[in-house]
């Protein structure tokens, strides 16, 4: 009979972070991974010899800096490469190309609007202060609104103190982003449509909302909380893709003495007298442990791995109502060369960061309207990256790999299904890229289309929502994934949750994994005392 101190279900990045902390604390910890590789939605796959596809997740920013310290990730090969350029093309051939020099960027935007160029500095400064003020909230176990426990009251006081200590302009901005659309916020700061379009992209990533939807401010803010070397809102490419990063997590976990069992799909969490005692795998194997942590999404955690009948009805209702509605897709290419923009000499430099195809609110709203009507966007928003322009390990010499994150591709299609529409979506993305970069079609060596259905099938996330549930205000903080159950515990003693469906939320961030481990270890300490 196999017996561990702790079992973590799912070797995605949060599962590995959680397991890393548990192993570091001395628990004999087992990660059970359904697939042949860990990483969940943060994997790198060699689909063609020499071409490394970041099938799903493709860049890093939100990963908590304290986790990198505490799990010794630099020792295990963590290397996040900076993005020296970003490119935002318009439909008429204009573009904004941003680099690393503040004043070159100023002059670049001045061509469109001198006031907006200066506004970028003002906006950057207020947002830095907002992110700085909110950072403790991301890294804390949120208060439980359903509890009168003195400890919870203390937490609530701490939460209110953070909000109240903010300077008035910071507080006002936080409130605005929490309650209104990114368009409302940007309209106040900027005049140029292209500038506003460029700045809004983080507001729609992975979410069923357009820049004019009121949820978009929150989605935008969440993404800005990431940092690169202390710069809020900056992103980097992990060496070898995001799969390279999760491999570091796996090495860190194993260095702490942890074990990973591959091709081990969990059928259910075993319970006895209201307490988790282990898991049963799909092949019938039973493995026992005092602590069982689900790194899966809330729907899988509460409605599949355990019997919902054993759970409080209000929790079950909340989870059933929890909005997943995956709406993001990936279309990845192997390319024979970098694309060429008609008004720029051919240059890999354009693609050493994010290529932002989504010029204006108008463009984005039209793409979102398609999704609201139940189809994928005919001219989608695309966040493109050619990581091979920086990391030579991603493609054979002189060749390239291009990751394209695509909005919107709603999980529920109105009059069709994704097995029918998969390549049509691929065509729409390719046609769009070809319109911005004429000749793009001739560069394509291979294409991989990943729909929300594929994300659900391959990674296992309900409805393929990359965040394990929408990052909308009513699904955050005290409510993620449900009021009273926002502190990584579940009603079943010894059964915990640490997926992106818990606070603070999605992206390769690790905080749910870490915060959950703190809860597990504290409960364990209390039980032993």
């Amino acid at each position: 009979m196999k017996k561990y101190d702790a079992i973590v279900i799912g070797g995605g990045h949060n599962g590995l972070v959680n397991a890393g902390y548990l192993a570091k604390a001395g628990l004999n910890t087992l990660v059970l991974e359904r697939r042949h590789l860990v990483g969940g939605a943060a994997i790198t796959e060699e689909l063609l010899p020499g071409y490394k596809f970041t099938t799903f997740s493709y860049a890093l920013s939100l990963i908590r800096p304290d986790i990198c310290q505490e799990l010794n990730l630099p020792e295990h090969g963590m290397m996040t490469l900076p993005m020296p350029n970003h490119f935002h093309p318009a439909e008429d051939g204009q573009y904004i190309k941003l680099g690393h020099d503040t004043y070159e960027n100023y002059h670049e935007i001045s061509k469109l609007s001198p006031e907006d160029a200066e506004g970028m500095h003002d906006f950057g400064h207020i947002m830095d202060r907002v992110c700085h003020a909110l950072k403790p909230l991301v890294d804390m176990i949120p208060p439980n609104t359903q509890s009168q426990d003195p400890e919870e009251l203390e937490r609530m006081a701490e939460f209110h103190a953070i909000l109240e200590e903010m300077e008035p302009d910071v507080q006002e901005m936080v409130q605005k982003l929490w309650t209104s659309s990114i368009a409302d916020v940007l309209d106040e700061y900027f005049e140029n449509d292209l500038v506003k379009g460029m700045l809004s992209s983080s507001a729609i990533i992975g979410s069923m909302c357009g820049p004019r939807s009121k949820e978009s401010g929150m989605v935008w803010l969440f993404h800005k909380m990431g940092e690169y070397d202390g710069i809020f809102g900056e992103w980097g490419f992990h060496k070898g893709g995001n799969g390279g990063f999760t491999q570091c997590l796996a090495r860190a976990f194993e260095a702490f003495g942890g074990t990973i069992q591959y091709e081990a799909a969990v059928e259910q969490v075993l319970r006895k007298d209201g307490q988790a005692i282990g898991v049963k795998l799909e092949d019938g194997e039973e493995i026992y442990a005092d602590v069982v942590v689900s790194a899966l999404d809330p729907r899988n955690t509460f409605l599949r791995l355990v019997d919902p009948d054993e759970l409080p009805q209000d929790l079950v209702n909340h989870i059933k109502d929890f909005k997943f509605q995956g709406s993001a897709a990936k279309v990845n290419f192997a390319l024979s060369d970098v694309p060429k923009h008609p008004n720029h000499e051919k240059s890999a430099e354009l693609f050493r960061g994010f290529l932002n195809v989504g010029p204006t609110f108008e463009y984005l709203e039209a793409a979102f309207a398609d999704a609201q009507a139940g189809t994928f966007s005919k001219r989608p928003f695309i966040d493109g990256c050619i990581q091979s322009t920086i990391d030579p390990d991603m493609a054979p010499a002189g060749k390239h790999i291009m990751s394209n994150f695509v909005m919107w591709a709603p999980y529920h299609l109105k009059d069709s299904d994704w097995d029918t529409e998969r390549e049509n979506l691929g065509d729409a993305v390719q046609d769009t890229l070809n319109s911005f970069f004429p000749g793009f079609n001739d560069l394509v060596l291979h294409r991989e289309v990943v729909t929300p259905l594929d994300i659900e099938r391959i990674v296992g996330i309900a409805e393929g929502n990359i965040f394990h549930g929408e990052l909308f205000p009513d699904q955050m903080f005290m409510n993620r994934p449900a009021p009273g159950w926002n502190q990584y515990r579940t009603p079943i003693k010894g059964y915990y949750q640490c997926g992106s469906g818990t606070h603070p939320g999605g992206c390769v961030i690790g905080a749910p994994g870490k915060l959950c481990s703190m809860q597990v270890l504290r409960d364990r300490e209390k039980a032993l005392a």
Partner: protein, 406 residues
């Protein structure tokens, strides 16, 4: 007018910010693009190409060349067989460090040495005074030097020559690149897999072009001095005028360092088996016997939590990106006496790769044990604040590929 290096026609065209630094009277680029960090990362991720031509270069030959170098240099040149290179130093009679450099035994009895400062008169005076029959030539203007550093450096060079197969760390190869004679050593100042190429001045441009063209698919990136300086701190390699001064022009011994005080004691591990009469030997031996080193040179890793917390207390976000300081910073003992002086850091930076602020420090011997905690004085909103730091052994970063056999 400052001089230009043999690669200038190419580096000038690539220098996007159009800023030059004066290195030993030559124009060199501090950076070619706006992001030092991107250039730095090319050394850890792909390959960085750096022009180090302004180094002074000397050739030693003649019947007494070996005997002369046995006497003048502190490390035993006899260990540097033909086809090898050696990191070496030269000291004064009092056992203080004059300079460091890399010497290459290019052919039997012929040696090439780099140095940061002019040393022709210094070397020749020793030969004259002690009667060595050695020819010492300044070949600085005859060669440009390119450093190709990073995990892809070997792959790139292999496209241009087949003579590097199995070339070990600190070994040399005489070869041709694009038809031009070059001497390549597996050396560098980045702590990574890397090579340095001595290129005859007239061959500068075609060799540069050949490297850039072979490196294109491997993301070869021209890098400036700043990226180099970031990499060298991680590599724990000391820099003259930052981490130490030459004993030659110091006013007082307080400005001078012995090799042991710079962490170079490893150079003298087998001194009892070494019968050479080299300059500084008596003093170095005495220092070892009496354990009289005043300090040692060690690494410091600044406590991540304390650095975050001290800035947050002051109401600001902790600076990380771009933090780089080559000025002296004070270090205090952690004791009951506030601000009890311990030593100083000579350089400090935020290492993006290691995700920590790191420093090179000179500390009294009782503080040099790895794991020892000290306070490092930094400035937060124009106020002196101490942050905790921990002593570590140098280097900070030492990948296997640096010294690995293929």
């Amino acid at each position: 007018m400052p001089k230009t290096t043999p690669f200038h026609p190419r580096t000038e065209a690539l220098n996007h910010p159009m800023i030059w630094e004066n290195w030993a009277g030559y124009l060199v680029a501090p950076r070619y693009q706006h992001s030092d960090l991107s250039e730095y990362y090319s050394v850890r991720n792909s390959a960085g190409l750096l022009d180090t031509s302004p180094l002074f270069k000397y050739k030693f030959s003649g019947p007494d060349a070996e005997a002369y170098l046995m006497h003048t240099l502190a490390r035993d040149i006899r260990k540097c067989k033909p086809g090898r290179a050696q990191y070496t130093i030269w000291c004064d009679e009092a056992g203080y460090v004059v300079e460091d450099g890399v010497i290459m035994h290019t052919s039997v009895g012929e040696y090439w040495l780099t140095s940061a400062e002019p040393n022709l008169r210094y070397f020749r005076q020793i030969a004259r005074k002690k009667g060595f029959n050695v020819e010492i030539e300044d070949i600085s203007a005859d060669y440009g030097i390119l450093a190709l550093q990073g995990p892809r450096s070997l792959t790139i060079l292999k496209e241009l020559t087949s003579d590097l197969n199995g070339l070990g760390f600190f070994r040399l190869a005489h070869t041709k690149i694009a038809g031009h004679d070059v001497v390549i050593s597996r050396t560098g100042y980045t702590g990574d897999l890397g090579y340095e190429l001595w290129v005859p001045t007239d061959s500068g441009v075609p060799v540069w072009d050949a490297l850039m063209s072979a490196g294109e698919g491997h993301n070869i990136t021209p890098i400036g001095l700043h990226a180099l300086k970031m990499a060298r701190i991680e590599a724990g390699l000391l820099l003259i005028d930052v981490d130490f001064y030459t004993a030659r022009y110091a006013w007082t011994d307080a400005q001078r360092d012995t090799p042991h005080e710079l962490g170079w004691g490893w150079m003298f591990k087998n001194l009892s088996k070494d019968d050479r009469d080299f300059i500084g030997r008596a003093a170095i031996e005495k220092e070892v016997v009496e354990n009289s080193s005043r300090w040692n040179t060690v690494g410091l890793v600044i406590d991540w939590y304390d650095y975050q917390a001290k800035h947050r207390e002051a109401g600001i976000h902790p600076p990380m990106d771009g933090v780089f300081n080559e000025g002296t910073m004070n270090i205090y003992r952690i004791s009951d006496i506030p601000w009890e002086y311990g030593g100083y850091a000579t350089c400090m930076m935020y290492s993006s790769l290691l995700r920590s602020h790191i420093a090179i420090a000179k500390l009294p011997l009782d503080l040099c044990e790895p794991g020892t905690e000290v306070d490092l004085e930094i400035s937060i909103i124009r106020r002196s604040v101490n942050v905790k730091a921990k002593v570590v052994a140098l280097p900070f970063f030492n990948p296997e590929r640096k010294t690995s056999r293929e």
